[in-house]
């Protein structure tokens, strides 16, 4: 081995000398090749670059620690990833129709988008909700809307992912209540709530309460579900939005896992054993443009989290050590210019997610830089996944790019750089402190600004935007939400309020208030409250009264 390497090194040196001599006459396209994380990309990778990598301890076998090659032994040979398109708009009834359309098209899981008032805990008739009802997702005010949303969809047959954070406990409670009405017991429910408040403070913005009570609600959910909804993924620790806010790939891994560490610590402090909730932690990453960087990112995240769980937290259950993750292609890379090009961008990004071993995938629609996706655009996006799964052959062997000198070297580099960031965040006092001090936000916004400068200076090519432009007609007939939606939704809300038993509602909300002031698990109290048709806004108002509201820290300004 030593000799081979020496032979390789000698040849490599000679080869490099030869190549560099010719560079004066035939220079390369750029002086420096660097990926989005600032990692230099070499001209060539050889066994020399992976020489320090110990195969069994760093890479290992699929389904085995440290899970670099994937969390299942057979990966997509057993079954393809779950094709899960994020959808939901206007009313529960319209969204219900879209879900049935997607299930008919061969989609295998649901993913619910809620409108902003729902995500921030306001009813549709709140003054804060004007202009936003039903716009970016479905409006849910009470259990009634949730019953309509899943009407005719058997909740023991589908898995449902809900992008809901600050009021995640309330929406999960409503889901459990709908299932009960369908005769489905909570032990059979499969799905995910996003429930990741820390990235809301740093990147996505739909927070309600301050960090401390938010972390309590989250650990209450962990503990409740471990007993009562055992198959439910209680959190989806999300790098997606951190990346969309402008981070690099390394920052995406680092800040996501740092948030993960904060959740594990909070749960342990509340007395939970790491292996009771650890297996239900799931993750959500972005699939961005730099193809190999993204594949290496997914692999590095798996290895890093496995080691954190095992070595830092002493997790023994292999499932606690696994990064099981959903991926969405990068919305921020879509262009409003020549939108059909987005189909191709999405296909490359989706391919990187599959080669990176994702468990489920949302592919963006080509028109998302313009408006809500049309049915046709969604279908092409779903077909893109079906093509990758069924026609390209990439799903037929596990982690096919392992052993590529470049991929393994890059996986190591992303791992090391992300670990370095986590060390820094630990020094600041953990993810919550780092966010409260604005450190994470500043790091992200600096990367975002740098990226934008590179585009404007022409250092980064965006096809159709700063190169290969054409004169084009502005698209028309975009999908939009009828303003009447708000009026109708408020009417439905009034009806619910007039038909319910107000005494029961009051009692339920009073019990919740008392629970929030004490230390009881809030989940059973919220479940009782939603069953009385107390509204999301009423429940969140009770909690706002006890917990207060989060005030954003300023990280910009002159």
């Amino acid at each position: 081995m030593q000799n081979t390497n020496q032979g390789l090194l000698d040849s490599l040196n000679k080869w490099t000398e030869g190549v560099e001599k010719k560079l004066q006459k035939n220079p390369e396209r750029k002086q420096n090749f660097v990926n989005t994380s600032g990692i230099p990309v070499n001209r060539l990778y050889t066994p020399v670059d992976a020489a320090d990598t110990d195969y069994m301890s760093e890479i290992g076998l699929p389904g085995e620690y440290p899970f670099t090659r994937g969390v299942q032994p057979t990966m997509y040979r057993a079954r393809h990833w779950t094709m899960r398109m994020y959808a939901g708009f206007a009313t529960a009834e319209e969204s219900n129709k879209r879900y049935k359309f997607l299930l008919d098209q061969g989609q295998t899981g649901l993913s619910v988008a809620f409108d902003l008032p729902t995500q921030i805990g306001y009813d549709s008739d709140s003054e804060m909700a004007i202009g936003e009802v039903g716009k970016v997702g479905v409006a849910i005010d009470s259990l009634k809307d949730m019953e309509t949303l899943f009407d005719g969809i058997p909740l023991d047959k589908v898995s449902t992912s809900m992008t809901i954070n600050a009021p995640a406990a309330v929406l999960l409670a409503m889901y459990i209540a709908v299932a009960e009405k369908q005769g489905v017991s909570p032990e059979k429910l499969t799905g995910t709530i996003q429930n990741d408040i820390l990235k809301e403070y740093s990147s996505r913005g739909t927070y309600i309460f301050p960090p401390k009570p938010s972390m309590r609600i989250i650990t209450d959910i962990f503990s409740y579900c471990a007993k009562s909804v055992p198959l439910w993924n209680t959190i989806s620790i999300s790098g997606y939005h951190i990346r969309e806010a402008g981070s690099t790939a390394v920052q995406e891994v680092a800040f996501t896992l740092a948030n993960g560490i904060a959740y594990v610590e909070a749960a342990r402090q509340s007395g939970l054993d790491v292996d009771t909730f650890g297996p239900r932690l799931s993750f959500f990453f972005n699939a961005h443009l730099d193809f190999f960087e993204e594949i290496a990112k997914f692999r590095a995240a798996r290895r890093l989290w496995a080691r954190i769980m095992k070595e830092r937290f002493g997790a023994k259950n292999p499932r606690s050590q696994m990064v099981r993750f959903h991926t969405q292609t990068a919305g921020c890379t879509l262009t409003a210019q020549q939108p059909k090009n987005n189909i191709v961008r999405v296909a490359f990004q989706a391919l990187s997610a599959v080669l990176g071993g994702t468990q489920s995938l949302h592919t963006n629609s080509m028109d998302e830089a313009l408006c809500l996706p049309s049915e046709e655009a969604v279908q092409i996006a779903l077909r893109t996944q079906q093509l990758i799964a069924n026609e390209t052959g990439v799903a037929d062997t596990v982690d096919p790019l392992a052993g590529s000198y470049y991929i393994e070297a890059l996986t190591n580099q992303i791992y090391e750089r992300a670990q370095e960031y986590i060390r820094k965040i630990d020094e600041i006092g953990g993810a919550v402190s780092a966010i409260e001090k604005g450190y994470v936000q500043r790091e992200i916004q600096d990367s975002a600004y740098k990226y934008q400068r590179e585009i404007e200076q022409g250092k980064r090519v965006v096809v159709g935007l700063n190169k290969f432009q054409v004169k084009e007609e502005k698209p028309t007939n975009l999908l939009r939400v009828d303003p009447k939606v708000r009026v109708d939704q408020i009417e439905r809300l009034r009806k619910v309020r007039s038909e319910r038993n107000d005494e029961k509602v009051k009692k339920g909300l009073a019990a919740l208030k008392q629970g929030a002031e004490g230390t009881d698990n809030l989940m059973p109290l919220i479940l009782e409250a939603v069953k009385t048709y107390a509204t999301l806004g009423e429940i969140c108002d009770v909690l706002r009264g006890v917990f207060g509201e989060y005030q954003q820290v300023s990280t910009l300004g002159s």
Partner: protein, 131 residues
Amino acid sequence: MDKKIRVLAAKPGLDGHDRGVKVVTSALMDAGMEVIYTGLRQTPAQIVEAAIQEDVDVIAMSILSGAHDYLFPKVMELLREKGVDDVLVIGGGIIPDEDIPALKQAGIKEVFGPGTSTEDIVKYIKENVKR
């Protein structure tokens, strides 16, 4: 020496997408303007109040949630109520072209969509600021 152009960068409504507004804020600051960024979740009334208190020359609003059709004109209405007519108001975000005429009708001077170069925004503000 010229007085620095003062800008209020604002996020009306519940939308949490602030990458764009932060990038534009940084670019305007680099171009020598004084920028006050409101942070997320500002009501139209809060934006107008901040604009008056900070005595800004420009209000630059960003929305990606689709609520521009209500929130942008509402800000203009409140500005008029307060007798403010010398502030340049511009908007940005995911705003369909077909919505732009109505927004301009309401008094939004220019709307910048995805892919806009920050240099174009800087240039536009310098050429169109009213005072």
